[in-house]
Amino acid sequence: MLAYVTRRLWQTIPTLLGVVLLVFFLFTWVGGDPAYLLAGKISNPEQIENIRRQLGVDRPYYVQLWIFIQQIATGDFGESWATNERVSAIFATRLGPSLTVLVPLLAVDTLLAIAAAMLVAYVRGSLTDRMVMISCTVGQSISILVYIIVFQYVLAYQLGWFPVQGWGKGFAENLLKYSILPIIVGVIVSVAPDTRLYRTFFLDEINQDYVRTARAKGMSEARVMWVHVLRNASIPIITNVMIQLPGLLAGAFLIERFFSIPGIGREVILAVERSDFPVIKAVTIYVAIATMIINLIADLLYRVADPRVQLK
């Protein structure tokens, strides 16, 4: 196991290097010159040159690339070009609000989707199955924007069940007061496609010989479903959940914008609008690293879920 983990960690280095090169050249050549944006309403070529010098974008590409690699190695991406705030401080202060919403959202969504999928898979072809599937299809056909606008208007404004928007100072206040509606919206948006997906995983397992055997041996339906089927269906479910985890780092910008949550997703959009490359680069690299680590964790979890899985 240790050898496997070590080998996989070594493999992340060339992958990360590829990401670094891609990000660097993408921003260098396609990203545009930020100096013109930072120069303000009136500027002359001399000022543009000064800004480029101050930002270091006038240096040869290999020097800029080396600085970028050093930043990744030290985890110090310097300061935001737009606000002078340290990039590390941006992550430290914005990640919390994003996770306050997105971790419960992911947990609730996963549990609900598993439960619903298992139920409809068990009663496949029944009216319940059809109704749930139709609802899921309709639900996932509607844009998240519609959910946000309607729920914010009806539940928060008209019924007054939740604040329209806002963010407080304490974790409990934020989780229990300001995050509930964003979580509801997020769950409704994601539970429909997840239910449909997980249903197929369960159906694949329900039709397997081992299920028939378990039933023939007189095992209870609850034990067949919750122990055997769920365990075997959990590998693709783990994959799907793990795929979603790196996205937590990038936040859910629409939810954050509409509900005024000071999260990382909102910050990323701001950074893109301002051509604030240190922030964009840091987010891209962190998401890449998180994806690689989470993929490794997912592989290890496969082994936990199914001891037959061999880690090579």
């Binding site: 303000g40 309403k41 800004i51 705030e85 005024s260």
Partner: protein, 586 residues
């Protein structure tokens, strides 16, 4: 104990139980006056720092009055020397940078703050305000760029501080706009100790001597200001004008000590729906960023709907001090390619004029602006010195005449139905915009279709468009200018030839215009200068360097409890002049 001894003796004038709740639709960038350029940061900066001058709250057109200065400047040397006397006994709000001592605002602070615009490390987006103006300052900035270090102790001949409370500014040339620049929000005084203590993080540590100070700051989310407890005694005592609203405000506010409101809570809300619902639920007090939903609360003639009136909601409508325009690149060539809209020959002027006459400004206002804008007739918008309310743009919307004009100058239609150049070559107008501007692209497309001119849309990212614009590489593009200070010069300089590759994005070169502009610079605001502005606007129209578009209307909605509000065309916010009436709306 030490802190108690060093704190100002004056108690709060403001009612600390009162909180004014407002929103920004775009996140601030920071509160260092030299390092910021965005409108929203400027609002906070204006509330925290003291400028030498400001504007009378009620007087229209804008009237300069002293703020930290004892009086308006003494202007001598034929308009080239400005002398300010700074009021004694103004103190910065306490900060660790002052090591527990009270820190008085002095003339040296203003000299230091102006110098900071030239420090290359600050990359100041507003350095242009002072560039080329003060004797010796540009040279000091140039030396700093070479040496990599700005010498703040170097003597600048144009920034003279003969004593603790006197600042004398020597200009290279006569400039009657300097007073406006010194009343601009970014001209507030910072303390050198504060800047040196916080280094690169000055944007998050604003320390001023103005009516408010920063109490809580969660970047891009929440900014809470509280009334400066040591703020000098300032009483609401403005003379009402002819506007009936002035009299109402004066009756409500006269004699109150300012600021009256103890706290200002600013929430960043990017989405219109969030801002609108928050206002509707009474979670915010002032809101104007609601163009998209204006028809929800307003009738077509700009009045509040009865349901809102019944609730006591108030509306204040003003035209923002801004213009939008579409510029033509006036150069004969763009790079090494011929520019069909450039040059000053009659046929090129005819083409530009025809496009201007076909441009559907009315549709732009009605559909894209949802009726919340007025047509811009003059390069100077309402509320700005030099604006002429009687001026009518000489280029009307008239596609029929535009077609006739093109026919007359040889822009004949080809077999494909589109017009060609007089020499028979294809005529394609390249209009540049960002991804967000699609509705404006479609409007331009419809406008040019009406005169059978083929349009090509060039899409690029905003920074790239800026880069191309600065190099005179864009054929046609929409642009906007919001007043930095309420003087016509701030707008007319956009057409001044030597400002090409800076702010003159049309790269317009008219010796006649330039001559008039240079003359206008030597004159103070008044009929003589206005006459020059009139001639300059006509000159630009004759050459048709711009299509004048519109100026947005600001619909400021207020909860019933907000009193004292009147939009000022030059100030970025009016918080210190307002009060909250807790009995209103009950």
């Amino acid at each position: 104990m030490l802190s108690a001894l060093t704190q100002p003796a004056v108690s709060h004038a403001a009612d600390m139980s009162k909180t004014l709740r407002v929103t920004f639709q775009v996140a601030e960038t920071g509160f260092d006056p030299t390092r910021t350029s965005d409108y929203y940061s400027g609002m906070v900066i204006e509330a925290i720092y003291d400028r030498l001058l400001t504007y009378d709250y009620l007087a229209r057109p804008s009237k300069l009055v002293p703020l930290a200065a004892e009086s308006l400047p003494l202007i001598t040397d034929n308009g080239k020397t400005y002398t300010f006397k700074i009021k004694k006994g103004i103190y910065f709000t306490p900060d660790p940078a002052f090591k527990g001592k009270r820190r008085e605002l002095t003339a040296e602070d203003y000299a230091y703050s102006i110098k900071r615009f030239f420090d290359p490390r600050n990359r100041s987006p507003y350095a242009f305000l002072f560039e080329g103006k003060i004797v010796g300052l540009d040279e000091l900035g140039a030396r700093a760029r070479k040496a990599g270090r700005f010498d703040y102790d170097a003597k600048v001949p144009g920034l003279e501080v003969p004593d603790r409370y006197t600042l004398r500014i020597h200009l290279k040339e006569i400039d009657y706009g300097l007073s406006h620049i010194l009343a601009f929000d970014l001209s507030g005084a910072v303390a050198r100790e504060v800047i040196e203590l916080y280094g690169e993080d000055t944007s998050a540590h604003p320390v001023g001597s103005g009516p408010y100070r920063l109490k809580h700051y969660a970047r891009s989310s929440k900014i809470i200001l509280e009334a400066n407890p040591g703020y000098r005694e300032k009483i609401w005592d403005f003379q009402p004008g002819d506007d009936p609203l002035d009299k109402e405000i004066a009756a409500q506010m006269k004699g109150k000590r300012l600021p009256a409101i103890g706290n200002v809570e600013i929430s960043i809300m990017e989405e219109t729906q969030s801002r609108w619902l928050a206002f509707e639920k009474g979670e915010t007090d002032l809101e104007y960023q609601l163009w998209d939903v204006a028809t929800t609360f307003m009738t077509a003639d700009g009045k509040l709907k009865p349901a809102f009136l019944k609730r006591g909601i108030k509306l204040n409508r003003t035209v923002d001090p801004e213009i939008t325009y579409t510029y033509f690149n006036m150069l004969e060539k763009i790079g090494d390619q011929p520019n069909p809209v450039g040059g000053y020959s009659l046929e090129r002027i005819a083409l530009r004029r025809a496009i201007a006459m076909a441009y559907k400004t009315g549709e732009r206002i009605r559909i894209l602006r949802k009726g919340q804008a007025v047509r811009a007739e003059h390069p100077i918008p309402p509320g700005i010195a030099g604006y002429d309310p009687n001026y009518v743009n000489s280029i009307p919307y008239d596609p029929k005449t535009a077609n006739a004009l093109l026919d007359r100058f040889g822009y004949k239609k080809g077999a494909d139905g589109y017009r060609r150049m007089p020499d028979g070559k294809p005529l394609v107008i390249r209009f540049s915009s960002t991804e967000r501007d699609r509705p404006y692209d479609e409007l331009m497309q419809r406008s040019l279709d009406s005169i059978a001119i083929r349009l090509e849309i060039h899409k690029d990212r905003f920074p790239e468009l800026l880069k191309l614009e600065r190099r005179c590489r864009i054929m046609m593009r929409n642009a906007a200018w919001i007043a930095d200070y309420p003087d016509g010069d701030n707008f007319m300089q956009l057409l001044y030839g030597p400002n090409t590759q800076q702010s003159n994005n049309a790269c317009y070169q008219s010796p006649e215009f330039d001559k008039l502009y240079e003359k206008s610079k030597t004159l103070p605001d008044g009929p003589e200068r206005n006459k020059l502005y009139w001639a300059m606007a006509r000159r630009m129209e004759a050459d048709t360097a711009w299509i004048m578009n519109d100026s947005r209307v600001r619909n400021m909605l207020m909860q019933p409890r907000v009193i004292g509000y009147k939009r000022h065309p030059a100030l970025h916010q009016e918080w210190m002049y307002l009060d909250l009436d807790s009995s209103a709306g009950k």
